[in-house]
Symmetry: C2
Subunit: 271 residues, 2 copies
DNA sequence: CCGTATTTGTTCGTATGTATT
DNA sequence: CAATACATACGAACAAATACG
């Protein structure tokens, strides 16, 4: 019938937060103070805090207190941009080859850096075998990188190539240099195979321990991560590569521009 | 140094789940059994359960027990599809006007139904004013719909139009009929304004109480929702409309097809 | 640098309520 | 109605992180 006490406490605090009475970044009363204010036990107050924490409204800092979460303005990653000029109807292209390479940050003045790739040769498991249309257990090359923007962790990215491509001569795939935006071009120059299309898949899930550590996320799964799969295909419709990227969901968004959409993708931010 | 006991218990159970020893849908031992097995108090065992719950690995059902979460195969929503034929290089078009209308479900044999729109005339707040490039407090028409697939809640969707469009003659925007895929065409026929491009934004956040109730989500924020903003622009680069859609993140994914990507977007599913 | 006070984190015990079988 | 299983609530004690003099 009536809500349990810890939810009533949470609801009361939630209302104060949404109304702005408790400002972002501001500190909440301590658990002992709240225990007196609501005439509840400390554990009940803590249950209310956990509720608000799971809603992403507050965060606790041991030894300091409980604070209202400040939303950061997110990194914007363009998954697709069609660069048709606004005033001319001629040549509705797909933005040239350049965009085929990777997910790109619409970084204004921000500096993106990537770690040296960690190369592995491994068996294709479920999703990887599925997307690359290989039989389970087929060998693939994986190139794993940590990506940073202005030094802060931005994404974890792993690209898988069928081992076939290496056997056919693309040996630099198994060397730990930064192919980066050049991987697709390298394959074209070396083997003559060209990526003519791709498919992105966007899902959300809880981070694993590795991801939580890299992105400095809480460890419990209360902050999710985006997982994007990008499968690239050659002219014959055969999968060339699969790139799996992971981004923390609390500070990232994706945009897709289709047709002559104005520029300036959320650069301004009002108070 | 060493992890707290509730996390060790959680880690042990997590390993059993990932290894498959505890199958999806299967029941975990009861809290009393776990209390004996790990020689901990029931509260500590429950802390371990909450940890696993936030990671999305288990769910509890009062009176029944604790169960390993079964992942459903997600609804797939295509945000963008470029239908260039595979074998010809001529005319790399954007797939025609048809795709401009809306986010479309790649529903194979599934039946999509929408509720009658709830129309409101309201002031544009922060995001809405921002995207439609209106000054704060300008009037907008909002058309809100509940969308279902095979009768199960699929998304909550609200489209905002500048009031200016109604004043200029598009009066059916404020009538509670299903314009649906015809809204863009209606604007073109009535006012001669044509949506020639759009921008999508994809973010993730905790659901609010309304959304949690509609999608039957837990109420604490442990299952997030996708929020997509689609802003449509006319030939002059002026925003025509803003559609905000919300989808539960545990049973939805988005796909983007660029260039001649093969069909069959994840219809098969291996055990 | 050290010690103390403050604040959240962990763990236990216990009792009672609510949902399901 | 009874048994089972999770949910709520209280009280207590100690640990760990942080801030401050």
């Amino acid at each position: 019938m009536t809500d349990p006490m810890y939810r009533q406490i949470a609801e009361d605090l939630r209302a104060r937060i949404e109304s702005g009475a408790l400002a972002p970044g501001g500190q909440l009363p301590t658990e002992l103070e709240l225990r007196e204010r609501y005439e509840a036990s400390r554990n009940t107050v803590r249950d209310a805090m956990k509720w608000l924490m799971n809603l992403g409204l507050v965060e606790t800092r041991p030894g300091q207190g409980t604070f209202v979460v400040e939303k950061v303005d997110p990194f914007t990653t363009a998954l697709f941009t069609d660069v048709t000029p606004l005033s001319s109807d001629q040549e509705t292209g797909l933005g040239g080859e350049g965009i085929a390479y990777a997910v790109e940050v619409s970084a204004q003045g921000r500096r993106a850096t990537d770690s040296v790739p960690r190369i592995e040769i491994q068996q294709a498991n479920g999703v990887i075998a599925d997307e690359l249309r290989l039989s389970e257990g087929s060998m693939v090359v994986s190139r794993h990188q940590q990506r940073f923007i202005d030094g802060t962790p931005y994404s974890l990215q792993t690209t898988f190539y069928p081992m076939r491509l290496v056997e056919e001569g693309a040996v630099r795939l198994i060397q730990a240099e930064n192919l980066q935006a050049g991987a697709i071009r390298y394959l074209e120059e070396t083997l003559g195979v060209k990526q003519v299309g791709w498919r992105d898949r966007i899902t959300v899930r809880a981070p694993d321990a590795t991801e939580a550590a890299f992105f400095r996320l809480p460890g419990d799964g209360r902050i999710a991560v985006f997982e994007t799969l990008r499968t690239g295909y050659d002219r014959s419709g055969q999968p060339l590569r699969l790139t799996i990227s992971v981004y923390p969901a609390d500070r990232n968004q994706f945009v897709i521009n289709v047709g002559p959409a104005p520029d300036d993708p959320s650069s301004e931010r009002g108070g």
